[in-house]
Assembly symmetry: C2
């Protein structure tokens, strides 16, 4: 095994971390982009506003919401009347559940991975 040393204590260097993607089977996938969009819809109260905040087209934002609905098997966002662009939007309980579980899995996975991530990050020429 190569000699390991801790990663450089360089303030400019981010800490190593894990990013995750949930695969619920049958092509139903939930990754960081969809979860960020859901969170932004919750904050923003609008799909178009959330899309703008994430520099995403309105069409793309709707496609991701639709993909999430399919992944979860229930609507994750509820739109108010007033037309597609006119009304507001808010998360459904299923949408809240997706965010909560995704972020918890992310935090727990990072916790169990921290030691090994640090070792990999510290693999440098001896």
């Amino acid at each position: 095994m190569p000699r390991l040393r801790p990663a450089a204590a360089d303030g400019a260097e981010e800490a190593p971390r894990l990013s995750i993607r949930l695969d619920l089977g049958g092509g139903r996938r939930i990754g960081p982009g969809k979860v960020r969009l859901l969170e932004e819809i919750g904050r923003n109260g609008s799909i178009s506003g959330a899309g703008r905040a994430l520099r995403m087209s309105y069409r793309r934002a709707w496609e991701l919401v639709e993909a999430l609905n399919q992944a979860v098997g229930r609507p994750v966002v509820e739109t108010a009347t007033g037309g597609a662009r006119g009304g507001g939007a808010r998360l459904t309980p299923a949408g809240e559940t997706v965010i909560r579980h995704y972020r918890a899995i992310e935090a727990e996975s990072n916790r169990v991975a921290a030691g090994r991530l640090g070792e990999l990050s510290g693999l440098r020429p001896g």
Copy 2:
């Protein structure tokens, strides 16, 4: 919270799982594609053979190996003399370490995520 029920016990449906990507900071990323390639190089004893097994061009396989060298800060593969395509290749200790840590992180993360993944997978219309 929506009513939860277990995912359909349909044999054709894969179990929900987590896929992971390691971000070591400074753009140094290790995901499932690079790790599968390393494993295949270990089995195959050749970068070109591993690339063929994964339906990947020789050039693409080398690019991924180079990206891994950069990510880890050490060579992950050692090539025998005999020219770029001629000689064999084998994993270095650093290469073995990458596989070992990646697969362990993947297994441990899936273990801690299993309950929540099952719940998300079971979100269905009540």
